[in-house]
Symmetry: C2
Subunit: 197 residues, 2 copies
């Protein structure tokens, strides 16, 4: 979507395409890193990693998965998780995502894992949780929501590597009342959305 400002516009269709945001790349005064800057308004786009919050939530020994109604990975299964919003805590964010994606109220137990996906600069903080009263239903971003016994999890239809990791780690931690949060499996970076490493 980047286009040099000094290039002639090819046709009205292209002229009407969405704006691209700041396109000047330079080191702002007093800074040490190159940043994207808008030459019109002077906005400096400081980019930092984004936080995803979510939970492996269980009821009656089964785990809650949501089949995604949105891209990326539409139709694949995931745990309830999403981007943390401003002015909320990590725990509140994890509960909100479960409410939005699975109409479920969660009781969080502890932090299962802190993963980093450096390629996309994402930090994932995932909790162990119980589904309150066992109640859930598809939210707007889910095609369906379902409780899976561990031996019935659709491993070939899992949306993201980190969902694999979290489910594996949850099983490894079962019965442990006190838990050191897991990090990425050794060597796994989450670089390829279709693989588990």
């Amino acid at each position: 979507m980047t286009r040099r400002q000094d290039q002639p516009q090819a046709n009205p269709q292209e002229a009407a395409s969405p704006p691209t945001g700041p396109t000047s790349r330079r080191v702002p005064e007093g800074d040490t890193h190159e940043r994207l800057v808008c030459d019109a308004c002077g906005f400096i786009n400081y980019e930092n990693p984004k936080v995803v919050v979510g939970a492996v939530a269980v009821w009656d020994g089964k785990v809650l998965l949501c089949r995604r109604a949105i891209e990326p990975r539409r139709g694949y299964w995931t745990i309830p998780a999403g981007y943390m919003e401003l002015n909320e805590t990590t725990a509140d964010g994890a509960r909100r995502e479960a409410r939005e994606e699975a109409c479920a109220e969660l009781d969080l137990i502890d932090i299962l894992a802190v993963y980093t996906i450096p390629r996309i600069s994402q930090v994932q903080i995932l909790y162990r949780a119980m589904i309150r009263d066992g109640l859930f239903a598809p939210g707007a971003e889910s095609l369906e929501t379902e409780l899976f016994a561990w031996d019935a999890i659709p491993w070939d239809e899992i949306a993201f590597p980190s969902v694999h990791w979290a489910l594996d780690h949850y099983q490894k931690a079962e019965g442990q009342a006190v838990l050191t949060p897991f990090s990425n499996p050794p060597g796994a970076t989450g670089a390829d959305p279709a693989s588990v490493s």
Copy 2:
């Protein structure tokens, strides 16, 4: 620093003040939240919480503190910690901050705490760590670096509430090989930089 675009500029000094960034607040198409938008370049400023990574690092039973050479809270003591950069892991970020602020190489042990400061939308991921070879020195952002015995910590000169929390929590966790990471102390939001709650 915000100024309405249609107001006359009071004097040349004010006219030369730094640009303010995008100032239109509206709900972009397909979005559900109001965002700040630049009317010139169309940039949409999606804001998310920022991640701070750091460590309570010890050597010979004493804890490493850095006296800040920069605002905010210049002259006050803190643990080595700072904003996570793009394309690094949380652990790499914590080690980088110790290198920058205290010229120390850290061996991270586990996650001591995950704090949220909702008022400033900050998530802090803080590790327990050992200082490799006991070597440290002030980095560019520190006036001095020092190892403190626990009963010699300058509690009245600590830079931020979350530094208090982390030091308290580290002491509470001493001797625990496996640790559930702490979160904010009950009721503490970190709202007031000068208080501990």
